[in-house]
Amino acid sequence: MDDTIIRTENLHKTYNSGKVKTNALRGVTLEIARGSFCCIVGPSGHGKSTLMHLVGGLDRPTEGGVFLDGMDITRLSNSKLAALRAQKIGFVFQFFNLLQGLTACENVETAMMFAGATEKAQKERAEALLSLVGLSEKLHAKPSDLSGGQQQRVAIARALANNPDLLLMDEPTGNLDSESEAEVLETVFRLHRQGKTVVIVTHNNEIAQRAEKVITIRDGMVAKYVLV
């Protein structure tokens, strides 16, 4: 199998809000190797998150292609794209984005439900994953009863629910105190050591320094491409 898990080709994204056109991305071409740890950095509002959304199949580009395992995901139908998100990609967001009405365990189970797992398999794996992120005591806690760091670890467990090849994280520690941040980062680094491809959008220099590849996005374009 090809060593490249993600490749983008001349990605453009233009937002039309009323009469104002915003060019969020202006021709981004990049490659990310399988099993690598990659950081996307750059000033706020310059297109990092947009790039992340396109790579994760949450949005469609105005122009260009996104290749996941060599397949152009921009050509997939909405339902195939949804199935791909369920099976191949795990998302972690800055604001955790847990479902508030559900417990930690149920949040992880829901992600597996969309991939078609049986309820028994869902429960077993959800418990195992929450133990993996150090939350075996909080299986039945609601998000509102968890600290920020704990919520983010639930989100990571959820991202891992269907054993995806790729973890996409948008400022995963942006909303955490330093203690929680350390907990979360430790989990992320461990996952990388276990072979997951991790792509993190971040402002955090400490993470960037430990990455194998740092891509700087400025004005919607790749400004710097550093292999560490």
Binding site: H53, G56, L58, D59, N78, S79, A82, A83, R85, A86, Q87, F91, F93, N97, L98, L99, Q100, G101, L102, E106, E109, T110, A111, M112, M113, F114, A115, E119, Q122, R158, A161, N162
Partner: protein, 387 residues
């Protein structure tokens, strides 16, 4: 986790909204059920009354409107408009049995009671009356009263007691066996006595007729009309005109019910639309972790359906309870007094129960279509970047 479980968690999470939306649907369906069952009860009862009249034909004065024809069945006081010689002429026609009715009103312990003047022997033969207690009239002009079993029960009257009608005392001679109909809630006096008492010499209110050969009914109508200048209504015609009035009432009731349902439907649409915009972010999260548009649609669609199911069940229960509680009050009205004998359980048949629940679910699903479609149409980024 499965979709229905997720739907249940979504619904029960916001308890206040859940309760109020459910109330909206419940009230809509309850009024629907109540009005339907009252309308249905009216129809049933009217059919029963006209069957019980036991007549194939009813002779009324010319020019009576449908309302007055209905009154024949309700036993209300009617104008004394047919001269007695018409009764005689009709009785003389071969092949039919006829009995005149003179319907009047009196009061006992401040309750209105129907007093019906009859030809004792003819009436007993016509109706096959039997006695529960006491004895039947023995003479055509006997100064006595026979009472229906309902009246006897209601006022604890028995043979030997006295009733005062128009200031005159009458001994109660007997109590009729229960017939299950209007005959139970009237008192009977010989026609001549009633005519003297109410000063309507030689007049009656209407005449009920049974023909020996039902297939020659048209022939009999012509014969009667030839013999006297009166209107003759067959039971079918009578029933038809009665039912057309009831039909109008039913349609009105159903229209009111429809408004209630419509209000409930918009309640659901409103709730679901609010839910969609409130839960935009949640929809985005679900999409990000792999929910397809179809799944999002079914989540919201099922949610409305569930509201409909619960609202339907509670609504039917509420409607039943309301019919039960309201029926006595509604029967105070002269026209709806027909409902009096109606058993709510009988009026609210299984068809109405299941029909209403299914209807409620259907209305809710239709109301959920647009919000569910709106939710499914959101793109993941649009939804997740919200709020």
């Amino acid at each position: 986790m499965n979709i229905p479980k997720l739907v249940m968690k979504n619904i029960t999470r916001r308890k206040g909204r859940f309760v109020f939306t459910l109330l909206g649907i419940t009230i809509g369906i309850a009024s629907f059920v109540t009005l339907l069952s009252l309308g249905g009860g009216l129809k049933k009862e009217i059919k029963k009354q006209s069957a019980e009249l036991g007549a194939n034909l009813v002779v009324t004065p010319k020019g009576w409107c449908a309302y007055e024809q209905v009154s024949v069945l309700t036993g209300e006081q009617l104008p004394e408009a047919i001269p007695f010689d018409v009764v005689k002429k009709i009785a003389a026609i071969k092949g039919l049995n006829s009995v005149p009715y003179l319907t009047e009103r009196t009061a006992y312990q401040n309750n209105p009671i129907s007093v019906i003047g009859i030809l004792p022997e003819e009436m007993r033969r016509f109706k096959n009356w039997e006695m529960e207690q006491g004895k039947y009239f023995t003479a055509q002009d006997e100064k006595a009263i026979i009472i229906g079993s309902g009246i006897a029960g209601q006022f604890k009257l028995k043979p030997g007691d006295e009733l005062t009608v128009k200031g005159e005392h009458f001994p109660i001679k007997g109590v009729l066996k229960e017939t299950g109909g209007k005959d139970d809630i009237a008192v009977y006096m010989p026609l001549s006595v009633t005519q003297r008492l109410y000063e309507v010499s030689n007049m009656v209110s209407f005449i009920a007729i049974k023909v020996d050969d039902i297939s020659r009914i048209d022939e009999f109508i012509l014969k009667i009309q030839k013999a006297a200048n009166v209107a003759v209504v067959s039971d079918k015609q009578l029933l038809k005109s009665v039912l057309s009035i009831v039909g109008t009432v039913s349609v009105t009731l159903q229209l009111i019910a429809a408004v209630a349902i419509l209000a409930a439907a918009f309640g659901i649409i409103n709730t679901m639309m609010t839910a969609v915009s409130e839960r935009k972010r949640e929809i985005g999260i679900l999409q990000a972790i792999g929910a397809s548009q179809r799944t999002i649609f079914s989540i919201f669609f099922l949610e409305s359906g569930f509201y409909g199911l619960l609202g339907g069940i509670f609504g039917v229960a509420g409607g039943l309870l309301f019919s039960l509680l309201a029926a006595p009050y509604i029967s105070q009205n002269e026209f709806t007094s027909l409902i009096r004998g109606t058993n709510v359980g009988e009026a609210l048949d299984l068809r109405i129960i299941f029909g209403s629940i299914i209807f409620s679910v259907a209305v809710s699903l239709v109301s959920g279509l647009y919000p569910a479609w709106k939710a499914a149409r959101l793109t993941p980024v649009e939804a997740i970047s919200y709020g």
